[in-house]
């Protein structure tokens, strides 16, 4: 069970600041979506609207065919996992895990306990006594075990060490195989998590910069390296997002479809063609205009 998402002309203002500017996109159900963007791009604002934390005033949001705001079915089926302030949360972990099934009908308590054990979350402690990483791990445990049709992770791993993050990523893949749902990931650890994404949505300055499947995105990012003159001649009509010089050798990153015929031509010119990671594409696409 998983929800589809359709956003049309969503615009959000914080006083005079336009945080989201006429966003239009569709997210297919049952997939892992990477929601990427620089600091202040509008990711968390968007996720808060998708989770019905706020009512959309300009534009519409449709989740699983319905307006999600105050929609009991959609709200019950949506988890928003982020770094919470637990300073005043005195309940014991054990009690929390016991009580979630009242709220989340698909919550798997045995799985939650197993995950908590693997994340080394001390069950007898209260939430306010957990370290930052343990607190994040607890949120992730609840998020995964709730098995809600729409699960949103907004920088949910903060404070978690590398082995715990690795366990989280593995569980995402396993859970997605067992109980497919729509998962949205907002993250800055793009290089670490890009293999998890089925689709990627990049937001820049409140606007959709691009939306592609993981494969499409990888097919569109190329590095071209070779003698400066040949590289410049070859990339004259391409969208160059980054360039570097090393003596007479030039290396550029381009974004766009490169047909096989073009690739053969590049080889004939003595150019080396490589692929770009999502992380590289994200860094350079969102830095346009900033590059020195």
């Amino acid at each position: 069970m998983s929800y589809s998402i359709e956003v049309s002309d969503l615009t959000v203002y914080y006083k005079n600041f336009k945080a989201l500017d006429q966003l239009n996109f569709k997210l297919s159900p049952g997939k892992v979506h990477g929601i990427l963007g620089r600091n202040g791009a509008g990711k968390t604002t968007l996720l808060m609207y998708l989770a019905s934390f706020h009512k959309a005033k300009h534009g519409t949001i449709v989740i699983d065919g319905e307006d999600p705001f105050e929609n009991e079915r959609i709200i019950q089926g949506t988890s928003f996992i982020y770094e919470k302030d637990n300073t005043y949360h005195y309940d014991k972990i054990d009690k929390i895990i016991k009580s979630i099934h009242y709220f989340r009908p698909h919550f798997d308590e045995a799985y939650a306990r197993d995950l908590a054990k693997r994340f080394k979350i001390p069950m007898k402690k209260s939430v306010d006594q957990l370290s930052r990483g343990q607190s994040s791990a607890l949120q992730i445990t609840i998020g995964l075990a709730s098995r809600t049709p729409l699960t949103i992770f907004d920088e949910a791993y903060l404070g978690m060490d590398a082995p715990a993050r690795e366990l989280f990523y593995k569980e995402i893949l396993l859970e997605q195989e067992r109980y497919p749902r729509t998962i949205l990931f907002s993250t800055h650890l793009v290089s670490e998590m890009e293999y998890l994404f089925d689709e990627v949505l990049i937001i820049d300055n409140g606007k959709v910069l691009l939306q592609e499947t993981n494969e499409q995105l990888l097919e569109k990012g190329h590095s071209i390296t070779g003698p400066k003159e040949n590289v410049e001649a070859f990339t004259k009509t391409l969208k160059v997002i980054h360039e570097e010089m090393l003596g007479r050798t030039k290396s550029v990153m381009v974004y766009g479809h490169l047909p096989e015929q073009e690739q053969r031509k590049a080889v004939e010119l003595g150019l080396e063609i490589g692929t770009l990671s999502i992380n590289n594409l994200f860094i350079h696409l969102t830095r346009e205009g900033e590059e020195a």
């Binding site: 808060m48 934390f53 706020h54 105050e70 929609n71 019950q76 709220f103 989340r104």
Partner: protein
């Protein structure tokens, strides 16, 4: 989650806090009774209202910052939360009034039998059982209104942050003032005699005013909650 389960969850969380509060209050009252009898000060302790009013007001303030936030993030809609909160508020008001009445009655019965003087005047039990029942009803109304006032202030702060939140405190003053005035039965009767000599109207008048205030607060709290933005 079914509505009654949510009401029960909400109510039991509040009762847990109330148990701590009343436990401490009872211990303090015992201590003060002993102190008052030994050293002769505290000749009129106000154990009934002021302290429990502050507690009730704080619980009301936490409705949005703690309960709305907590339950929404567990997948409960604002509307469902509001209904559960309202039922839990009514239940809590009645239970706390009952507990208050029982504690005071027990104190006023047991303390003199132990050879001590009760350290307050206007004994609840000296006017018979009907007066005890009437006091229980009064406490219930009183608690209910204060919970709603706390809720009103809390949702104002939660929704509009501190600047406009302060406005909600100011808006609460008339409700607090009227509620406090209605506690003073002699004062109410004296005031109402300006308008009518009918003893029935004089006796039910305060309750009517309570009910009007309750209706205004419920409608206001609902309108403020139904599309309240949830904070991260």
């Amino acid at each position: 989650m079914k509505s009654f389960q949510l009401v029960w969850h909400f109510f039991s969380e509040q009762i847990k806090w109330a148990t701590w509060f009343y436990g401490i209050l009872v211990i303090l009252t015992i201590g003060m009774t002993i102190a008052a009898n030994h050293w002769g000060f505290f000749d009129n302790l106000d154990t009934r209202n002021t302290t429990s009013t502050i507690f009730i007001l704080i619980i009301g303030l936490l409705y949005s910052y703690w309960f709305l936030d907590h339950y929404f993030k567990l997948g409960v809609s604002r509307k469902k939360y509001f209904k559960a909160a309202l039922f839990a508020t009514a239940m809590l008001s009645i239970v706390l009034a009952l507990v208050t009445t029982i504690i005071i009655t027990l104190f006023e019965t047991i303390v003199p039998n132990l050879g001590f003087a009760v350290p307050w005047t206007d004994l609840l039990t000296e006017n018979g059982s009907l007066f005890v029942i009437q006091s229980f009803v009064d406490y219930s109304f009183y608690h209910f209104v204060y919970l709603l006032i706390g809720w009103f202030m809390g949702i104002g702060f939660y929704r509009f942050r501190w600047r406009f939140g302060l406005l909600f405190i100011i808006l609460s003053f008339p409700f607090i003032g009227i509620t406090e005035f209605l506690q003073n039965k002699a004062g109410v009767a004296h005031t109402m005699k300006f308008f009518t000599a009918n003893p029935q109207i004089i006796s039910i008048g305060p309750y009517l005013i309570f009910l009007i205030m309750i209706a205004i607060l419920i409608v206001s709290n609902y309108r403020l909650t139904k599309d309240a933005p949830i904070r991260l």
